[in-house]
């Protein structure tokens, strides 16, 4: 069975050496979290994830969640106790607003906590994860009365939250939705309809569940312009905060899924359920989109988290498993065979995974720091750049890191040989759990369309040009640094490829939208590979600075892994560029009836 050790050293390397998070200690939130305190928080959090959550990962996978005829749902053995420990430990409050009982730590710190939870037990982590989504929606758009009523208990984790968007006939195209809301004259609404794929929709972990539901108010315009967002609590909440009557919402069924079995994915039936509008009528989708960037960044994180968990298991197996001899002669002659770590093909997989996981983590943390600056910087120019980057990078993080995360999880399974295919070893769970991250929160094809159709062209392409300029400045600053040369060369050519692809899209995507659509997947991957080149350049530079000319196992390894990335992973970018430039060509060549 896999075990997990949280990569706290990696997180601190990013905070201290690469992102220099302490530069921002003049800002609120950052002032409360000096890095030695952050290290202690993550160290204690790591123990909880390693010793409490991770041992339940396989239990959740085997047992799944069970629905009783009355619609109540039982989570896997141990989840309830672990959730109580999570709440007692105060962890759900980590990144939340101190006004409502949160600890107010920066998002870039919560991200490390979320990665640890997700690596240890992704299905479990989704319960507090969804609560945080509901918290964000109410915090940003709720009335003061709604905030006072719902936020404190979402922050402690005493209550959990959900997001109810999808209906049987509408997922991506929410304009088709049918769930209706009937005004009651007292400011409340009665909500009726069916929602599907609702993660954490019903369970036994908390005393109340705050559902956020999109629905159409009677008489509202058709399509996306008639969608409103409602708070629908499982138990109505009295004015004094105590729980009142059971609301008209029930779990009709638990979906049987490929993975994340420990999370109850529910079909939810709403029948005259009392709901309260958040924000203005018919503006529900705008409210949802505000939260989408952070939620999607969180899903990109799951890609990295699953690859990290699977990598740790695969590495331990590769060191332990003895088969055959090294191609260059026995490395451990006193043993009957060498460990499979001696084989170049095993090393290839491990290094590919390690370089993309570490680079991907850096990309996530780098972007999340902009997420913090977007809300906290006093400088409008910084906030503008931060907003541009958050918007532009989100689909890349989500699409690229979950595609790679899944591929990396399967390579970890591959290292186990036949044992990887046997459930007992736990590797299949990583593959099955990682798979969903490519699909939910906007399938990766949608991410690619969001990137080329919406994000790239926004404000005349300001975000992507800012990114190019930042890379150019880094190249210019380090042009004379001989030890950085391979990385600067790789970054120069990699950025040129991305620029080439971007120009191609601008020239060919507008005249024929199918060109943009057909190129979008490859463009997203080209973008991801380029962004990771930049991250590796930053990390390698930080490592040279850190080692100060002396051998250092940590920094030396970083430099070697960065070199592997530019030599063995980055070349994929050229293939993506070549493919995207063929546009709609062969993709759309066959007439529909020829399929």
């Amino acid at each position: 069975m896999p075990t997990y050790k949280a990569p706290v050293r990696e997180f601190m390397f990013l905070y201290r050496n690469v992102l220099h998070v302490d530069r921002h200690s003049n800002l609120p939130a950052f002032a409360e979290a000096p890095l030695d305190l952050v290290e202690q928080i993550l160290g204690e959090g790591a123990k909880f994830c390693e010793n409490v959550l991770q041992p339940l990962n396989a239990v959740g996978d085997h047992e799944g969640c069970k629905r009783s005829p009355d619609g109540s749902v039982t989570t896997p053995t141990g989840f309830k106790d672990a959730y109580r420990q999570l709440v007692d430990g105060g962890w759900p409050a980590l990144g939340a607003d101190p006004v409502y009982g949160g600890q107010g730590l920066p998002h870039v710190v919560s991200l490390a906590w979320n990665e640890m939870v997700s690596s240890a037990n992704m299905a479990f982590g989704m319960y507090p994860g969804l609560s945080h989504g509901a918290y964000e929606a109410i915090h940003h758009h709720g009335s003061d009365a709604q905030k006072d009523m719902y936020l404190p208990k979402l922050v402690t984790g005493e209550w959990t939250g959900t997001m109810n968007l999808t209906e049987p006939h509408c997922g991506t195209d929410l304009g088709l939705l049918r769930t209706k809301a009937v005004p009651q004259g007292d400011g409340s609404y009665k909500i009726s309809g069916q929602k599907i794929f609702i993660s954490a929709g019903e369970h036994d972990l908390a005393e109340n569940i705050i559902h956020l539901v999109i629905a159409r108010i009677e008489g509202a315009p058709a399509g996306t312009k008639g969608i409103s967002l409602f708070i629908v609590p499982k138990f109505l909440v009295n004015a004094d905060g105590s729980l009142g009557a059971r609301n008209g919402v029930v779990c009709g069924k638990i979906e049987e899924k490929m993975g994340i079995h420990g999370n109850a994915t529910c079909v939810m039936q709403y029948e005259d359920a009392v709901g309260h509008l958040i924000g203005e009528p018919n503006k529900g989708l705008a409210v949802m989109f505000v939260m989408m960037n952070e939620a999607r960044l969180g899903v990109g994180l799951q890609g990295v988290a699953q690859a990290e968990g699977a990598y740790q298991a695969a590495l331990a197996f590769a060191k332990d498993r003895r088969q055959g001899r090294s191609l260059t002669g026995p490395k451990e002659p006193d043993q009957p065979a060498d460990s499979i770590l001696v084989h170049p093909d095993v090393r290839r997989m491990l290094m590919d995974i390690k370089s993309v996981t570490e680079g991907g983590r850096a990309f996530l943390f780098w972007t999340a720091l902009y997420g913090d600056l977007l809300h906290k910087s006093p400088d409008p120019a910084v906030r503008e750049k931060a907003g541009d980057y958050m918007a532009l990078m989100t689909p890349v993080l989500k699409g690229f890191l979950t595609d790679r995360g899944y591929a990396n999880a399967t390579n970890c399974q591959q290292i186990y040989g036949g044992h990887g295919y046997i459930e007992e070893w736990g590797m299949s769970q990583f593959v099955r759990d990682a798979r969903i991250a490519q699909i939910y929160e906007g399938a990766n094809g949608i991410q690619a369309l969001d990137l080329v159709g919406r994000k790239l062209a926004a404000n005349g392409g300001r975000a992507v040009f800012t990114f190019f300029n930042e890379i150019d400045a880094f190249i210019a600053d380090n042009a004379d640094d001989a030890q950085m040369k391979p990385f600067i060369d790789a970054l120069t050519s990699s950025k040129a490829q991305l620029q080439d692809g971007t120009m191609w899209l601008m020239q060919n995507g507008m005249s024929n939208f199918d060109n943009a659509g057909a190129a979008s997947h490859d463009y997203l991957h080209l973008f991801g590979l380029t962004a990771l080149t930049y991250m590796w350049a930053l990390m390698v530079k930080a490592s040279f600075d850190g080692k100060k000319g002396k051998p250092d196992p940590f920094f030396d390894a970083k430099i070697a892994v960065g070199r592997h990335y530019i030599d063995r992973v980055l070349p994929d970018a050229a293939a993506h560029l070549a493919k995207l430039k063929t546009g709609a060509g062969t993709v759309m060549a066959l007439p529909a009836d020829a399929f």
């Binding site: 050790k5 050293r9 409360e32 000096p34 030695d36 305190l37 202690q40 928080i41 204690e44 959090g45 123990k47 909880f48 010793n51 409490v52 420990q85 007692d88 430990g89 105060g90 962890w91 409050a93 980590l94 600890q103 250092d552 196992p553 940590f554």
Partner: protein, 249 residues
């Protein structure tokens, strides 16, 4: 009642160390350090006594480098009230630690000192006993269970034959064994609060203690590699081998 809990910064128990090539010791560079697990048990016990209302103040002490402050912070996050760091670089032997602790006890006047029975780095298992001797206080070592009532502490000890219960007059020294309790995970609010709790920084000289080593390490080596065993066919053969080859019977 005030309790003093000494905590030691040691190599994380999950990690393996390598012997330095010159055999002068083990190589700790770049390895993660953490609180000695037996000290964690001592902190946990003190916090439980405080939660029961028996103890009013917990003072965590660490003797070591600047970074030992992190170890004190961990104790503060678990529930200790304040810390004292006695800054000493290099190795500190149990006798020097016991002498420094004696100085702190005289300054702080706790009724109870709870220590880990040993540290997992040198496994000396001496500090608690030495401190008891220096102070002339009773000692209950290898505690499995502790009950404090007015002027007495009853300690159930793990001994070779089973459990032994002793009653000590306070003030007293208790050292913890593995099964005394299971230390808690520090909660996030308590970690945040811990950063505001005070830590006094002192030097060994403040207690008039010379920490120069009195022991000389001749050589540190890896334990010998385990040799393959042999299978015996009968009990008689086993007894014969134990008698004649191993010489243990």
């Amino acid at each position: 009642m005030k309790v003093l809990v000494p905590v030691k910064r040691v190599l994380d128990y999950n990690l393996k160390v390598k012997v330095k090539s010159d055999q002068s010791g083990v190589d700790l560079s770049n390895l993660k350090m953490a609180m000695n697990p037996f000290c964690e048990i001592a902190v946990e016990e003190a916090v439980r006594l405080k939660e029961k209302g028996v103890v009013t103040e917990i003072v965590a002490v660490s003797i070591g480098p600047e970074q030992a402050q992190e170890t004190i912070r961990t104790a503060l996050a678990m529930g200790a009230d304040r810390g004292i760091l006695v800054k000493v670089d290099g190795d500190v032997e149990p006798l020097a630690v016991a002498k420094i602790l004696k100085g702190i006890v005289e300054a702080e006047s706790p009724q109870l000192v709870i220590l880990g029975k040993q540290a997992i780095d040198d496994d000396a298992n001496q500090t608690g006993q030495m401190l008891a001797a220096l102070l002339g206080w009773p000692q209950g070592t290898f505690a499995f269970k502790i009950d404090v009532a007015s002027d007495k502490v009853t300690v159930t000890r793990e001994v070779d034959g089973g459990l032994q219960t002793v009653a000590l007059n306070l003030p007293a020294i208790v050292t913890t064994d593995l099964r005394l309790n299971e230390p808690r995970y520090a909660s996030l609010p308590n970690i945040m609060k811990a950063k505001k709790k005070p830590i006094d920084v002192k030097a060994a000289a403040d207690y008039g203690v010379d920490t120069a080593p009195r022991l000389k390490v001749l050589k540190v080596t890896e334990p010998p590699k385990r040799q393959g065993g042999v299978k015996v066919k009968t009990v008689a053969e086993l007894v014969d081998k134990l008698k004649n080859e191993a010489g243990v019977l």
